[in-house]
């Protein structure tokens, strides 16, 4: 029981990070049909900026989070404006190549600035052991889950309630009709990229707090694909649920089976899902009235 609870908790922590990264991925795909292979590097950038502000400059962690989010937002906007926008109308394969290129570029920039050694992350989240339902867990995991949950709820509210959030979903549905109500499609694309970079950066901070800062963080980004295929490429709730499911599966297989199964389980799920439910659990159905 004790082990089960601990595994569940670390599964949820991982899942929360995956959900944040996947949310950004889905956002970009929904708004602009671009498959962003650089999503994992957004995690990496987030982790290193936080490391630089809190670990190297020694500023307070709240400042660190604000600065990280701002840097991510700016990065997302710049990429959209100067890399993706000039590509509008190009074939899908060129767009894919561009995001793959971006992924290598971001990785290179990060290792150029901070090197490749693994560094200790300034742990700003208290990590005291406490007792939950008879199991001993560390509070940093609970914090990680709470932080991720707060952001996920905030984004959900943004999409349902705010005029900008509704405009983003409108663009995803019918670009020309959105244009006809004065919604700026360019602005929406820029917003999708910056929100996406920001959520991923938060995910990067959480994961770095647990694993330390290193280039490995962008590897977590690879698992975004099984997550979004499972949840449905264009579904925001699907991204969250997919993240949690994959996170839990990894934790349980790692704890109970071992033998490295935990690192391939996401891809086993990926293949299975592609075989039985190619649009994922929540992939958007095409509405057809009869």
């Amino acid at each position: 029981m004790d082990q089960f609870l601990q595994l569940t908790l670390s599964g949820l922590t991982n899942g929360a990070v995956l959900a944040l990264a996947a949310l950004g991925f889905v956002l970009i795909y929904k708004a602009s049909d671009v498959i962003n292979f650089a999503q994992g590097e957004f995690l990496l950038v987030g982790a290193y900026v936080m490391f630089a502000v809190v670990g190297e400059l020694g500023w307070h962690w709240t400042v660190g989070i604000v600065v990280t989010v701002l840097v991510a937002v700016a990065l997302g906007m710049l990429l959209e404006r100067f890399v993706l926008r000039p590509m509008i109308g190009e074939p899908i394969i060129s767009l894919i190549m561009v995001t793959i290129g971006l992924s290598s570029l971001l990785k290179a920039v990060v290792s150029g600035i901070w090197g490749t050694d693994e560094r200790a992350f300034p742990s700003f989240i208290p990590s005291d052991p406490i007792n939950v339902f008879g199991a001993t867990v560390t509070t940093d995991k609970l914090w990680a889950i709470a932080i991720a949950a707060v952001f996920l709820v905030a984004f959900n509210l943004f999409f349902r309630r705010s005029s900008s959030g509704i405009a983003m979903r409108a663009v995803a549905d019918d670009q020309q009709a959105a244009l006809s109500m004065g919604i700026s499609v360019k602005k929406v694309f820029a917003m999708a990229w910056s929100i996406s970079a920001a959520t991923a950066a938060i995910g990067g901070i959480i994961i770095a707090n647990i694993l330390g800062v290193s280039g490995n963080i962008s590897g977590v980004g690879l698992q975004v694909f099984p997550v979004v295929i499972l949840g449905g490429l264009d579904s925001i709730p699907g991204a969250v649920l997919g993240g949690v499911i994959i996170g839990l599966l990894q934790a349980y297989t790692g704890g109970y089976v071992g033998h490295g199964l935990n690192s391939i389980i996401p891809f086993i799920v990926l293949v299975l899902i592609l075989m039985v439910k190619p649009y994922g659990l929540f992939g958007q159905e095409i509405i057809e009235r009869v």
Partner: protein
């Protein structure tokens, strides 16, 4: 309020669709733009609203003035901000957004956010059926309800001029009458100027103050509804009325010639 002067539109750099299109829409009126399939009615509206660009179309000659200022070079969002709202052909509701979210999307350019709630109620009084289905995905509405939503979405933007592209398309006759009634009411009660594109000439002439008939990229006839209704060609081609007692055979030829005269 709105005037087009000799507007020429070309798609894909080669397809000439509007060939010297001119029309006037006076403030506060309902103006109908009638014409057969492919005449260029939708293209005219898109040229006004700045929606040609995503379709690779361009105004290459002439000009479009709204309240005395040229607007044919403006992007779509600026045209909406100046008070022109196009309700596109085929309704084009956001299927995965619910009814209320669709309406809020219509209010996107509004700067007086605090009044948006009140205007939602205004739309619901015109279309009570939308209120009942407020939280339903727009994709599952009936065709008529979707058309109501498309018009409601326009009202949410508080435009000075609404351009409706075939609001009767694919709707049952009774529903068409209901929707035209509401269009008329909106024009009178909100003072919204309306440019109405229609295939259903009979009904359009009923509510319009003035009408234009276009063929092949330009206006071939215009006038007050009463005058147009009296015109034999209009009766034949657009109202489907034929004079009693005459049989088709010989007249077909005659009308073909008359039609040719318009086209040349």
């Amino acid at each position: 309020m709105l005037s087009l002067n000799n507007v020429e539109v070309i798609y894909e750099d080669v397809i000439l669709v509007l060939k010297g299109m001119s029309l006037e829409v006076p403030d506060g009126q309902i103006v109908a733009l009638l014409g057969a399939n492919g005449a260029g009615k939708s293209t005219t509206l898109k040229a006004i609203s700045g929606l040609l660009k995503p379709e690779n179309g361009e105004v290459t000659d002439g000009d479009i003035q709204f309240q005395g200022e040229p607007i044919h070079t403006l992007p779509a969002e600026d045209v909406v901000r100046r008070g022109i709202f196009q309700v596109m052909e085929g309704r084009r509701v956001f299927e995965h957004l619910n009814v209320e979210e669709n309406l809020i999307a219509g209010a996107y350019t509004r700067t007086d956010r605090q009044n948006v709630k009140r205007d939602l109620e205004m739309v619901y009084t015109y279309f009570p059926r939308l209120k009942e289905r407020m939280k339903q995905s727009a994709g599952y509405l009936s065709g008529g309800e979707q058309q109501m939503l498309a018009i409601g979405r326009a009202l949410m933007a508080k435009p000075k001029l609404v351009m409706l592209d075939e609001p009767s398309l694919g709707l049952a006759p009774l529903l068409v009458v209901e929707i035209f009634d509401i269009i008329k009411r909106i024009n009178q009660e909100q003072g919204t100027t309306i440019l109405l594109v229609e295939q259903n000439a009979l009904l359009a002439l009923d509510i319009a103050n003035y009408a234009y008939i276009m063929e092949n990229g330009r206006i071939v006839l215009d006038g007050e509804p009463d005058t147009l209704r009296e015109n034999a060609d209009v009766r034949e081609f657009y109202l489907g009325l034929t004079e009693v007692g005459k049989r088709k055979s010989y007249r077909d030829v005659k009308h073909y010639k008359r039609r040719k005269r318009w086209l040349s």
